[in-house]
């Protein structure tokens, strides 16, 4: 990873006597490379490297006995700070049932994540209910019903001949009458450039008044993460991101891109297909993963 690449550079540099600014810039080029290969967005990388350059060519590195390690330390610290410093929590304040809405591109893991969140909340002594609002994808409603029954969480009996707006409106009452304190709405995957479907989300938001609107993003997402998250954020006001499929070997640079461009914090990570495979997002672990 970056450590071994730096070792090569700094071994070579030490042989040249006194370390100079241009030596450090060589190291920064390696940082840029590592971040791009980790799928961090081109512009986010450019800004990030520019921002750490000042620290990197300063005395703390030039007069260090281990300049390579010093640069890595700076990169790590700045990445962690950018990713959010401390873990961001799920906001569940407000009169029950507290609404959470999941949105995102097709196949990112929304339906599975909805059930994972429900199980997580159940373990925290809450009583969530699940609402299938995807009437388009074949068997999407069945999928959430099956998952709900696996974890013994009530699922609103959506029918695909209803409109998502009708489903959500009726589900709020269903939830109240079932004494649920949290209502988790799963929406259909959609493209951020699909205007009618983005408007549908805006209508659902109006009806549901969600406390949390979570953008579910696949960890293997590349440069497109910026366009997607910007558009969803602009349309809805995203309160948090769930980064899924981190049990694969994608570096997950999309997390950095999204945070840098929209300011939206990653709140959870999906780490498997089972319903207990969800964790709180730790910025320091993500920083190490991105740097590789």
């Amino acid at each position: 990873g970056l450590t071994s690449r730096f070792e090569k550079i700094f071994k070579y540099l030490r042989g040249q006597g006194k370390l100079t600014e241009s030596n450090i810039k060589e190291a920064l080029r390696e940082v840029r490379l590592a971040l791009l290969e980790a799928d961090v967005h081109y512009r986010v990388v450019r800004d990030f490297v520019k921002n750490i350059e000042e620290r990197a060519i300063g005395q703390e590195v030039l007069s260090s006995l281990t300049p390579g390690q010093q640069v890595i330390k700076i990169v790590h610290e700045e990445l962690i700070a950018l990713l959010g410093g401390t873990p961001a929590k799920l906001q569940l304040d407000g009169p029950p049932p507290v609404p959470i809405m999941l949105v995102g591109l097709q196949g990112s893991g929304k339906t599975t994540t909805a059930a994972k969140l429900a199980l997580m909340l159940k373990k925290e002594r809450r009583s969530p209910c699940l609402v299938p609002a995807d009437i388009y994808r074949p068997a999407a409603i069945d999928q959430l019903k099956v998952l709900g029954s696996q974890i013994n969480v009530p699922v609103y009996p959506s029918q695909k001949d209803l409109k998502p707006e009708e489903i959500v409106r009726d589900a709020i009452n269903f939830c109240k009458s079932n004494n649920c304190d949290t209502i988790i709405v799963d929406t259909a995957g959609r493209l951020h450039i699909d205007e009618p479907l983005m408007e549908e989300l805006q209508r659902l938001k109006q009806i549901l008044e969600p406390r949390e609107i979570l953008l579910v993003v696949d960890a293997m997402t590349g440069q497109d993460a910026v366009k997607v998250s910007e558009t969803f954020h602009e349309a809805l006001g995203i309160t948090g991101v769930v980064l899924t499929k981190l049990d694969g070997d994608a570096r997950g640079g999309a997390a950095l891109s999204i945070r840098a461009v929209t300011g939206c914090p990653v709140k959870f990570v999906g780490i498997g297909e089972k319903l207990d495979a969800i964790e709180i997002f730790y910025p320091d672990r993500m920083s190490s993963r991105i740097l590789g």
């Binding site: 074949p138 068997a139 999928q143 293997m220 997402t221 997607v228 999309a254 297909e273």
Partner: protein, 278 residues
């Protein structure tokens, strides 16, 4: 290109940004631009249009893998296995493929080989009904190899000439799940020695550099004969396939451009290159 008039360092920086933000990746971008720079020098290129055309040609060249045309008529039944990581579009693509070949006069049978994920069998069954093709399925939790064996048996005895097998999404990093795919192939071969005649790896166009790792591992574990790139109707360009085609020599057979049955196109390098360079 932003009204730029001369071929200079800044233009190449701009090209680098276009390629990298299209997920072409650093190494493949460098190779493309180094070659381009050499040609510009060697042939003293001055016009922007010519430079643009050269880059397009270079990309098309890398994507044009010499391969046998895909011919489902060369075996009866012709067996296709569809694999890939979670959520990339395998099941939907199988519906599109079944529809495509049905309209070309084949008698496709789809196989519900994903016996694991919630409502996966129902999802494919609904698609099969929409397309108007038969499906072989068992209960959730059944052994996928058993379902596949049954399906090949049915295909032979009932005269279906094309079999398309859906498998559960899986991370290429999970060796036990890759073993499951190998077992399915072994079992298939017991019934039809040449099967599967094609193994398609489905890639999502929104995926970045991790696509390399997916192709590398799937290829090493179960050998892939074709790629399908889905979700090109979004804003992602799928540029990572340029380096993938160059490195692994696997042809891209189709692209997915939407969620409907008709949203399948044969892969055309020229159109892909044009769309990428925008």
């Amino acid at each position: 290109f932003s009204g730029r008039k001369t071929i200079d360092r800044e233009l190449f920086d701009e090209l680098e940004e276009i390629l990298i933000t299209s997920d072409v990746g650093v190494a493949a971008t460098r190779r493309l631009l180094n070659n381009l720079e050499e040609r510009v020098e060697r042939e003293s290129i001055q016009e922007l249009e010519i430079l643009y055309k050269m880059l397009e040609e270079e990309i098309i060249g890398l994507l044009s893998i010499p391969a046998e045309p895909l011919d489902p008529n060369r075996a009866d039944p012709f067996v296709i296995m569809v694999v890939g990581v979670n959520g990339v579009g395998k099941t939907t693509t199988i519906a599109k493929l079944a529809n495509h070949w049905k309209t070309e006069g084949k008698k496709p049978l789809v196989v519900a080989g994903d016996t694991f994920r919630a409502a996966a069998i129902d999802q494919l069954a609904m698609w099969a009904e929409r397309v108007g093709v038969p499906i072989i399925k068992q209960r959730p939790g059944a052994d996928p190899s058993a379902v596949v064996y049954d399906a090949l048996d049915a295909a032979v005895s009932r005269g279906y000439d094309l079999v398309i097998i859906d498998t559960a999404g899986r991370m290429h990093t999970k060796s036990n799940l890759m073993e499951e795919l190998k077992k399915i192939r072994r079992v298939m071969a017991k019934k039809i020695p040449e099967a599967p005649h094609e193994t398609f790896l489905v890639l999502d166009a929104t995926t970045g550099q991790n696509a390399y790792s997916q192709v590398k591992t799937f290829k090493e574990e179960i050998s892939i004969s074709g790629l399908i790139l889905t979700k090109l109707d979004g804003t992602a360009k799928g540029g990572v396939v340029i380096g993938i085609c160059h490195e692994f020599g696997i042809p891209i057979r189709f692209i997915g451009v939407g969620e409907g049955i008709e949203d399948l196109r044969p892969f055309q390098p020229e159109l892909f290159a044009k769309a990428l360079l925008g």
